[in-house]
Amino acid sequence: MADQLLSDRLDEVIDALVARSDASAALGDPELAPLARVAADLRHYPNRDFTAHLRARLERRKTMTTATLAPGVREGFTTVTPYIWVPDRGLADFLIRTFDAVETRVDENPGHGIHRELRIGSSMVMIGETGPTDAPARPQAFHVFVPDADATFARALTAGAMSLGEPEDRHYGERAGFVVDAYGNHWYIATALGPQSLGHHLRTVTPYLHALDVDGYMKFLTRAFGAVEETRAEQPGGVIPYARMRFGDAAVEFGTHPPMPGAYFLYVADPDAVYEQALAAGAKSLSAPADQPSGLRIGFVEDPLGNHWYIARPFDSR
């Protein structure tokens, strides 16, 4: 039967196409050639499970992008607020002595250490004091704008920090000096130079996240949290010395360095949805969203660099 033969011949062509070997002989066969051409194009037919899955993800994300911008933020806080874990109150003292930080809240939770909130200029920082026997500190890095970088740098050293770089006029429009505090946190202390400086756009304290693959990490943050890239500098070879993203009303900066995994509060309108989205993007669950005694509903995840994210919303503001 001619048709039977044609179906066998076509199948051989398809086997060759799928194996990416030479199927061009079919083009000399007038009966087979038009079918072989269709078969060659079919190798590029998209998997409909994939296109449907991607569609669903984009549909979820549109909610997320909106969610991260919606008012789930605690009053006085911004979408992203750093949470620094240390063993004792020395860090709070350091921030008060160096940056004139003002302690706005202290909660003692017997058995769970002490929770502190401090205002530094236009920003909030939270500290968890674990006590000496608990988990190690999780040092982070911060970009801090102050009126006089030299004076603040000197105060930081007096308060016990070590210099990582004396204040200098930097090519990116800042006078900046760098210190590391007794717990390993980095503070990039800066004063704006000239009208182009970032100091006019950023709040007092901006988290500065370190990653070796900044591009890949930013893509994760977009997928997980709907963060939006604002700017990036790129060197030949793809190294990104500096980048910045926006999460709702907060900015986060990035540089190519070995990660310093820290912890951050992320205030969102719908913690459950953002938690699910973060897991779908590749974050690891540390605990599912639940109402906490603090009045916040919090989902807790770890991102691929080891940073911890408390995805939160005050539950009385629903």
Binding site: V38, R57, K219
Partner: protein, 185 residues
């Protein structure tokens, strides 16, 4: 696609990201076809296509209407995403075909997009055979076992499917009007 329609859709999606999926539905096959030509594997094609639409959604606010088709903007994102991909693999992006499709490639892409949509409309059994053979790379024997039919019957089904597609492609110009955004059905 009428450019006026497209412009309205883009503006709608810029105002309300919920509308972005309509742009996705209209363009996913074109973008996938563009990427697939260059990607070398299905996994890479899927990763890069995801990347393109994720970035497009993120940056949609920056898209300015200047009469350039939206898909051209997506192709440019795709070209960059592919270049990034090769760079991460330590390969030179010079191996890539030119970023911007020429007239001939446009025709090729449109042909494939029409073909993909014809596949979506095949009778279930035929579509399943195409999916298993071309997407899942399964052999005739495996397809026959999965569908509980003889190998000969599967080969016949495969022939009928491809012949239907070939006929559909021949009739394509007359048939295409008014059949937009149909996939995912």
């Amino acid at each position: 696609m009428k450019t006026d329609d497209e412009r309205l859709l883009i503006e709608a999606a810029q105002a309300d990201p919920a509308r972005f999926v309509e742009l996705y539905d209209r363009n996913v096959d074109r973008v996938y076809a563009y990427v697939s030509r260059r990607a070398g594997s299905r996994t890479v094609a899927e990763d890069v296509t995801s990347e393109v639409f994720e970035q497009a959604l993120t940056n949609l606010g920056k898209f300015e209407w200047r009469g350039v088709p939206f898909v051209a903007w997506l192709f440019r994102i795709a070209a960059n995403a592919l270049a990034d991909h090769w760079k991460r693999q330590g390969r030179d992006s010079h191996e890539l075909p030119p970023d911007v499709p020429d007239e001939r490639e446009h025709q090729d892409l449109e042909r494939r997009v029409s073909l993909f949509q014809l596949v979506d409309r095949l009778p279930d059994a035929q579509r399943q055979v195409i999916q298993m053979r071309f997407v899942e790379d399964r052999s005739i024997r495996e397809v026959a076992a999965a569908l509980d039919r003889s190998e000969g019957a599967i080969k016949q089904l495969q022939l009928r499917a491809i012949d239907t597609l070939r006929t559909g492609m021949t009739e394509r110009p007359a048939e295409r009007s008014g059949k937009q955004g149909h996939h995912h059905g």
